[in-house]
């Protein structure tokens, strides 16, 4: 290609890029402007509530394969979402997304609420409004480390991870624990799905996985031959004042947050959420083999 042709090509690329970026920024700014009216009113006006979640986290939210469409999403968080939609007098639409996208779509303001077993983290609280806690794991097992059985004597706590590879779900509380409470590691890998982390330890692609103990135990129970175990007598330190899963709400939507908090108070004081949690734990077990 001659020198002149090369320059023409380069100019065309730059010009196209400029046009594309201009169109995109123009479109996105007009889109966000339209939604800056009070979201609660907007929801009631349009008649439906859009709730995002990652439906791969029993018993909070998961998929019943025998059902279709919206019906397939089940779990305690799903019941909670239905309850909120009923209170607002609108239809519920569940939007499944991978976990990273769940968080980013709320900070973007693309959807109304994120009800996906979201724990409180300071970083999240800066990027979105968080409701009061609606489910507390104080009485339930918290977060720990998953390892292969053969490494039981070697890995007893975060200090032993110095020369090991650790993995955690990207954007999760478990990832935050690694960043804050594991002093040294050989390598820190991230995955987008919880079970990918378990698989990595199983297949020697990683040595330790930062996990929600309840979730990990469900996996171990279903896969007795996987050779995995949870490190005994160890739990990540958890600031109890920020315990509790929350609803994620786009930043600045204070009226919506207030309404949600009222509903949270209701489901907590009547024990309704606890009931859903128990119900769906049983349901999840029935889906296994």
């Amino acid at each position: 290609m001659s020198g002149q042709k090369k320059i023409t090509k380069l100019i065309t690329i730059l010009l196209l890029t400029a046009i594309v970026l201009g169109v995109i920024s123009g479109c996105t700014s007009s889109a966000t402007k339209a939604e800056s009216t009070n979201r609660l009113d907007a929801i009631k006006e349009r008649g439906y509530l859009e709730v995002v979640m990652e439906p791969y986290f029993a018993p909070y939210e998961f998929i019943d394969p025998s059902k279709e469409g919206q019906e397939q999403y089940v779990g305690s968080d799903v019941e909670f979402a239905k309850y909120i939609a009923d209170k607002f007098g609108v239809e519920l639409r569940i939007v499944p997304l991978e976990f990273g996208a769940v968080l980013s779509s709320i900070t973007d303001g693309k959807y109304d609420l994120a009800i996906s077993a979201l724990a409180y983290t300071p970083a999240r609280a800066e990027a979105m409004n968080m409701s009061k806690g609606y489910y507390f794991s104080k009485d339930n097992p918290g977060y720990g480390l998953l390892i292969r059985k053969e490494d039981a004597s070697e890995i007893k706590g975060p200090e032993d991870i110095k020369d090991k590879i650790i993995v955690a779900q990207s954007g999760s509380l478990q990832e935050m624990f690694v960043n804050e409470q594991v002093p040294e590691y050989k390598e820190f890998k991230r995955v987008s799905a919880t079970t990918d982390g378990f698989l990595m330890v199983q297949e020697n692609k990683a040595d330790v996985c930062s996990v929600s103990i309840a979730m990990a135990q469900l996996y171990i129970d279903a896969n007795p031959n996987a050779g995995l175990m949870i490190v005994e007598n160890f739990e990540f330190e958890f600031d109890e004042s920020v315990d509790g899963t929350r609803v994620g709400i786009p930043l600045g939507e204070d009226e919506l947050t207030e309404e949600i908090n009222k509903i949270v108070d209701e489901v907590v004081s009547t024990g309704l959420y606890e009931k859903w949690y128990m119900e769906y734990t049983e349901y999840a077990k029935s889906l296994g083999l």
Partner: protein, 218 residues
Amino acid sequence: METIINLWNKYNYVYIDGLIGTLWLAAITVFIATILGTIIAIMKLSKIKVLDVITTMYIEILRGTPILLQLYFFWLLLPKMVPFNLSDTACIVIALIVNASSYVAEVIRAGIQAVDKGQTEAAKSLGLSNWNTMRKIILPQAVKNILPALGNEYITMVKQTSLASVFFVKELMTSYKTVQSATFLALPSLIIAGIIYFVVTSLLSKGLSILEMRLQND
């Protein structure tokens, strides 16, 4: 091994639904991409310089970036750019179509250029316009060259649709994720999906070579 059989017995319908979704997704994508690709190929072959530059840019951008990146782009931007509601699946299908069209355009261009120049000359000397030459003489003959390559594109697309599982589109990899998260059995669920993919692509490849033989005999 036993777990795999039990898993299949309980959840086979999920995989079958997913497979149908995959085959359907691939079919729609390749079909529309062929139409789009033909237009692009013709634009590229035309004498108008600007069209050539634009289509070259189009093809190079689409082939020069990862498909997953393109899927994310379309999924994030498309709903903001259109005044009506666009489902996630629609965005992904459009992204796959656009991506496939860049490959198909090249296949069609090569197919068209492979048709003997003498055909065009003869058509012109008979007084046929450019458009009619293309439509009635060149394209029908190019089809024989293009069909096997399109068949290959379909088989490739069957595998590429697996990326749509990131967006929860109904297809085979999404079936794997659904079953896996309901049962906590990751490897067995994956193996079932893998076997299905392998069997289906093998059957399709076999069918394609039979088609190719038939076309050559014509």
